[in-house]
Amino acid sequence: MALSKDVYRAFEDVVGAEYICDDPVIMPSYHQTEFAAVLLPQNTAEVQAIIRLCNKFSLPFRPVCTGWTGKFAKGSLYLDLRRMNRIIEINEKNMYAVVEPYVISAQLQAELMKGGLHLNVKGAGSNCSAMLRGHGHLDQTTSGDDRNHLAIEWVTPAGEIVRSGSLGSSDEWFCGDGPGPSLRSILTSAVPPGVTPGVFTKAAMKVYHWPGPAKFPIQGVSPNYSLSEIPPNFMARYYSFPSVAKMFEAENKIGESEIAFELMGFNVAMVAANITTSNEEEEETFRRLSREVQGPGFFVIVAGNSAADFAYKRRVLEHIVAEAGGKSLASLEDPRLEGILLCQCIRISASIRETFRPGGMFSSIPVMGQRDLTIQWAIGAGKAKEPLIAKGLIVDDGGAFFGWGVEQGHLGKTEIFCKFDPQNPEAKAAVEAWHKEQSTRAFKERYFALLAGQDEEIGRGLSNYHIWWNEIQKELDPNRVSPEGGALV
């Protein structure tokens, strides 16, 4: 398992003695995996040199930023990218920011907000890399997945440095598709495996107009943060509807009228998680909110560019909601709770309170597609959770799911969680069975479930994409040193 002295020395020569460690004692902190060593490269040149050595010694590697849980192969090299943490450029005129992998979304967002800009903070949370691929609360107005990556500096699994898009023909980062090589399908594809082999060492991220303050007026002491005032021309509301059909009707119209800064198809369990500071409080709040809603619902943030713009958007929103028989959840109109939700959803991207806090683990099935159809699939997956809830194996969230439209459209993401205690083997087994059964059903019913390790199922539905992908991978990674990808983790 351990590296030979010569191999260790070769890597040590690249990063320096202080930035390599193969002591087994540190490995439990790295995802409970027996890595051959952990390395902390500082720049692109070091990453390239490491990858070339990986090819020379046939050693697989995996780059990681801030982390989260994950499964990793024993004996591989772990590239911890935390020393690559610079914001290279914020280009206000052309609306992009160039960052290294360990710049977290909260950092970049805070810098952007000072200049009237912001970015898509992924659902994993603002504590994760700003380069992360994926979706988040702000997808309505900031899109998701491959749409936010512009030019990328990429060290391939063979150790070559590739500069995509405009960076391939100039020093400019403004476009991912040219003038210069467009490698969109390889670099930023949403199709599983969704992780490009090699390491992204810099990327230009698309940024968007921010109509809010340079800084949120936070008050209080953790965990009781709130806003001293709701920023001018901002409003957050939760609406519930008599039926799923009515909810989707309103969601669709809100998208078409382009009035929502954010629309998150939360259930009240997730609202409860976000506005509370402990598990006990969350449980009680969920029960209370469940009694207040009339049916399924969503959370909306309206952000106006001016008082008139805000008034117009608000008026349209209220009209659409009323037409669909929607009702605002009165208790969330309290400015304190409204402020907490504004901050949670824009600055935090929720995440940890609603996923890990209850039991320590969650298992998720995310599905991309037309929202009204994917919601129908999720209702079934939610019903399948009910026996597990009844047995006390997973957290009672009413069997709920969540989701949202991307780019104000009817296409979007729908997702469903089971939150559970991973130390309970019965719960773990039940959740795994639920996951397998429901993801199988998704594929069978031709839904596009974004699940790692399911390439074949998806590939068959997409012109045998997986076969082509495997061929590309062989070309990119002839020595199979980056079999699990991981360029944007």
Partner: protein
């Protein structure tokens, strides 16, 4: 129970890395986003709060394997608790407590650090965490203070080891005494009979030495009939107020930091700062006055079987919410001519001065590195001076300033109060 009682907490860590950063809402830019000195300096995840819990959980499961690297991880931590505050914004789990228990376990297993052993040997020999430079009560010569072990007083001022013995910091003890005299407080000191509070020994993992100090201190206090103890050092404050309570040794003794007491005296009109100080300052929250100064919460119970990490009876976590944050700020704002500008990392998510957890003894270079980072942050405010409320912080900052040549001045809050009332 030791480390074992926190098995469930350690297993709850989801490796999200929030323990490395200040709470996300408080991130105001690219700089000053880190909250944990250890992971910031040493970079490997094992030096973070979460990494320490992951290792603890693994060792409980697979057995303890001590290596030089493990001990390097264990002793390169200021035990400042910032990781726990950031984690506990979202999570219900203990963070600092298992890290503390891990260190206690190392000491119990004889896996100590030579520099800490030396400090503890000094404590056992002299009742002090710093080498004596004379008699403990020498700092009070000429001030005419009451001996609380012989005379009836309302308040005992516990000066602490560093303030008592360090010639450059004895001015803090004298300033504190003058403030109390000016306010007409019936107070006394234990003088040569004063001994270490034991707090730093506890941080270093020497629980038995801490308990010995705590019992001796409480015996002295009980015998003298003391109802209120005032400390001007955050280490002593946390020991008397929080740790003695944790081990059910404090009884109903009132414990106040001098900043709380001065705030009270000003509000009651017993102290009137009238003289213009004329200084722009920024304030450093000492860890053990701020987030770790919040009261201990006694709790015993069991995990409720099932899907959630909840307990019967419900457990109240100490998340840094109720630390001492406003009193020192109130005091500074009441001083004529003092303008306060805040740093980015303040209150519950303040960056540590570097001196805690025995790091100033075991790895002075790391302690200095940590202090320099705080000096850099203080300089970014444009303030002329960095004010703190703990002699250990002042010492760390003074050394960092000497090394960097920074023009920033460092004061303890009592120095400014003294200037405003003299």
């Amino acid at each position: 129970m030791g480390l074992e009682q926190y098995k469930g907490d350690m297993e709850m860590c989801c490796r999200c890395s929030t323990c490395k950063f200040i709470p996300m809402q408080r991130v105001s830019g690219h700089d000053f986003v880190n909250v944990c000195p250890s992971i910031s300096r040493f970079n490997f995840h094992s030096y973070s709060g979460g990494g320490r819990l992951n290792i603890g959980a693994a060792m409980l499961r697979d057995g303890f394997q001590y290596t030089d690297r493990l001990l390097d991880i264990v002793y390169n931590c200021q035990m400042c608790g910032a990781c726990g505050v950031s984690c506990n914004y979202a999570m219900d789990m203990e963070v600092l407590e298992p890290i503390q228990e891990f260190r206690i376990r190392c000491v119990a297993d004889g896996k100590t650090h030579p520099a800490l052993d030396k400090a503890i040997a000094g404590l056992r020999a002299h009742g002090s965490m710093v080498p004596p430079t004379g008699k403990r009560g020498d700092w009070a010569i000429g001030l005419g203070l009451k001996d609380a072990t012989r005379e009836k007083v309302d308040v005992l001022y516990h000066a602490g080891c560093l303030t008592s013995y360090d010639p450059s910091l004895q001015k803090l003890a004298r300033a504190t005494a003058k403030i109390l005299q000016k306010a007409g407080v019936n107070f006394g000191i234990a003088g040569d009979a004063e001994i270490c509070c034991g707090g730093r020994a506890y941080q270093m993992g020497y629980q038995e030495d801490f308990l010995r100090q705590a019992r001796e201190n409480m015996a002295l206090i009980k015998q003298a009939g003391i109802k209120t103890v005032v400390t001007a050092c955050a280490e002593g404050y946390q020991a008397f107020k929080v740790l003695y309570d944790k081990f059910k040794l404090r009884g109903d003794l009132e414990v106040l930091h001098i900043s709380e007491f001065v705030d009270r005296l000003i509000q009651e009109g017993r102290l009137k700062p009238r003289k213009k100080v004329g200084l722009s300052v920024t304030y450093h929250d000492p860890c053990r006055l701020g987030r770790l100064g919040e009261p201990w919460v006694h709790w015993e119970g069991k995990k409720v079987p099932g899907d959630r990490f909840v307990f019967d009876p419900p457990k109240t976590y100490r998340r840094g919410t109720h630390g001492v944050y406003d009193p020192p700020r109130n005091v500074l704002k009441s001083l004529p001519g003092v303008t306060l500008t805040e740093m980015t990392r303040i209150k519950e998510y303040a960056w540590c001065c570097g001196a805690g957890g025995g790091v100033s003894e075991s790895n002075p270079e790391f302690a200095q590195w940590t202090a320099r980072e705080r000096i850099r942050e203080a300089e970014s405010t444009g303030a002329e001076a960095l004010v703190t409320a703990c002699s250990w912080c002042e010492k760390a900052f003074d050394e960092a300033i000497r090394e960097t040549g920074s023009a920033l001045k460092v004061y303890d809050i009592v120095e400014l109060v003294e200037a405003a009332i003299s």
